[in-house]
């Protein structure tokens, strides 16, 4: 599957990753335009996290290319990467300084405002709820003011209310022009928020398009579905997964 637009904010082509004899990614390509929300979905072991790790520069691909250097994209890992013994503000300030932002204090204040955590700025990260930790986690990913944000299962392990707050925050970013690529196991979440979904299975990208287009594909292949989740299952089953 080839990348399309040359003006895309993020373009990855022919990504291959092997772990020993096992091929985790088999020539996966991906593109995302400015302000676009792209969801990576697929069964466990499909290669979603590996693909995001390569896009973020944490792992090296054995083949293929990414048009952005690691520091040009914001990255939010699945597990909150915070120091529990530092306060929310100290965590933000530390990473702002490491990112080399011009005015760390102003940036921290802005992020606290953006995440709605200004009143928790002095709290230790270890004392935050899972949802708030994830919001700080995302805020740290945004400190470098990159226009591409990669999120690895951003709402995993959050309760519905916390999940809603995180998505409000992410959608707000996308509305301001940030390209968001995220992986998720929650297919309803992919259907609700993504402009496009990429279905990965066994290291291959099997589908790229809108959630509605996935349903149409399933119908064209003679399958039936009542929602996105059923369409997703039928799509994979039709391809032997």
């Amino acid at each position: 599957m080839a990348a399309t637009a040359t003006q895309d904010a993020l373009v990855a082509e022919g990504i291959v990753k092997r772990f020993g004899a096992r091929e985790a990614l088999r020539g996966v390509s991906l593109s995302a335009a400015s302000g676009e929300l792209v969801a990576l979905v697929g069964p466990n072991g499909a290669g979603k996290t590996t693909l995001l790790s390569i896009l973020a520069g944490i792992q090296r691909a054995d083949a293929g290319s990414v048009n952005r250097a690691p520091r040009e994209v914001g990255w939010v890992p699945q597990q909150a990467a915070l120091y529990g013994k530092l306060t929310v503000a100290e965590n933000l300030r530390l990473f702002a300084r490491l990112e080399g932002v011009d005015d760390p204090s102003a940036t921290v204040a802005e992020m606290l405002e953006l995440t709605g955590l200004a009143d928790r700025a002095g709290d230790l990260a270890a004392e935050l709820s899972g949802g708030n930790r994830q919001r700080v986690n995302i805020a740290i990913g945004l400190l470098g003011r990159q226009d591409v944000l990669l999120l690895d299962e951003p709402s995993a392990a959050l309760d519905p209310r916390q999940r809603e707050r995180v998505w409000e925050f992410v959608l707000g970013l996308a509305a301001r022009g940030t390209t968001v690529v995220y992986s998720t196991h929650d297919l309803q979440e992919a259907a609700r928020h993504a402009d496009r979904v990429i279905v990965l299975a066994d290291g291959e990208a099997l589908f790229e398009g809108s959630p509605a287009a996935l349903g149409e594909t399933v119908e064209r292949e003679g399958g039936s579905h009542s929602d996105f989740e059923e369409a997703f299952v039928a799509f994979l089953r039709h391809r032997g997964h």
Partner: protein
Amino acid sequence: MRWLLLKDLRILRRSPGLVALLILYPIVLSVLIGFALSAGPDKPKVAFVSLVPPERGELELGNRKLDVSQYEGKLFAAIDPVPVDCEGKSPLQCRDAAIDKVESGEAIAALVIPEDFTDRLGGLQTLALSGPPTIEVFYNADDPVKAAYVEDTIKAELRDANLALTTKFTEIGLSYLDLIVSGGTVDVPVLEDIELLGLKRAEEIVKRARPDVPPAQQAELDRVIRFSELARENLDLSGPLLRSVREPIKIEQVALDGGSTSLSSFAVALAVAVSLMFITLLLAAGALALEREENAFARLVRGLVSRTGLLVEKAGLAAICSLVICLAMLVGLGLFVDLDWARAPLWIVALAVAALAFGALGVAVGAVTREVRAASLLCVMLSLPLVFLALVPSGSVAPAVYDATRAISALFPFRPTLDALDAALNDSGGLVGPLAHLGALFAGFGLLARLALRRFA
């Protein structure tokens, strides 16, 4: 890197329990090791009972009297006597009271001088068939180490006691020989003093009488004079001979390897080396593992900090902290142990280089572990054997085993750290060799840590 360093210091400041443990544990451990090595065994507490009645406390050797009761204190000066209350008790009860002291743990052993001790000792000069005096020793053998210690101590003390008695006997014997050679007065109890002529004066008398006897008998007198001369000359040699028999072998000790470090100074070097190792290893490994435990590692190394920079920061943090703590420890120990303060710059150099080597080892450990607890456990499991291996003395194990312990010790920073600190503190051996060794280990473990970080991250 500066911000990471400040972050780690802030985290440490907010972990007072961890910091206290990190500082106190190695210090207490090292002080205990140092104390055990330097203090050595004190005078052993021994319940000492003499059942010799006071009126039989004197031993007659020829015309001399030896007060054995006065000798007891001198003979067993190396023990810490535990008093045994024998007031109103029979000798057997008194003996049992001494044994009770051992069984209750109040004394490590009981030494019982039997009633007939003086008699048997005196019998040695008359070739009586009663046999030599026997001292009874009671001790608990429940602990083989303690049993060996008691046996060695008592044997050493009895050897000294035998030597002291032999010396006295020799002196008395020599005085009799002197009487035979030179003559003099012998005080014989009951009887009057006896005047002994002696070989020398007898020879003079014979020589003076010789010209007055017929020539045929002069030859006989010449044989007597010749015998007297020979006997006198040979008896004169008896003194040195008897003295040499008393202690036939003299020992002259020459240390071929190592310096003249006293045990207490070595204990200081050891205590500081152990503390330095624990603090640096635990801090370096723990700080690196914490980055992964907090999931921050991946975020950091994707452009914010290089992996090498991260290793340098963790090793540097651990080295600085342990250097400060161990310097403070040295200053504290210097109040109790005589240290050469003029060598303080060398202490700092030795500590700094050793801390860096341990820091490199610490980050290598931290690089292969994902949790602080696992890293700490690995550090402790690694550290203790290193200390024991480094302290195995040559000759105490088979040569091949000793070579193996030396080879293993050389692969880790503890032994060279001990050598460097010993050289810096006590001027024993060169400092450059251990420092170069530590430098090589720093580079080696740094490289290993870097490879491990790429492999396991």
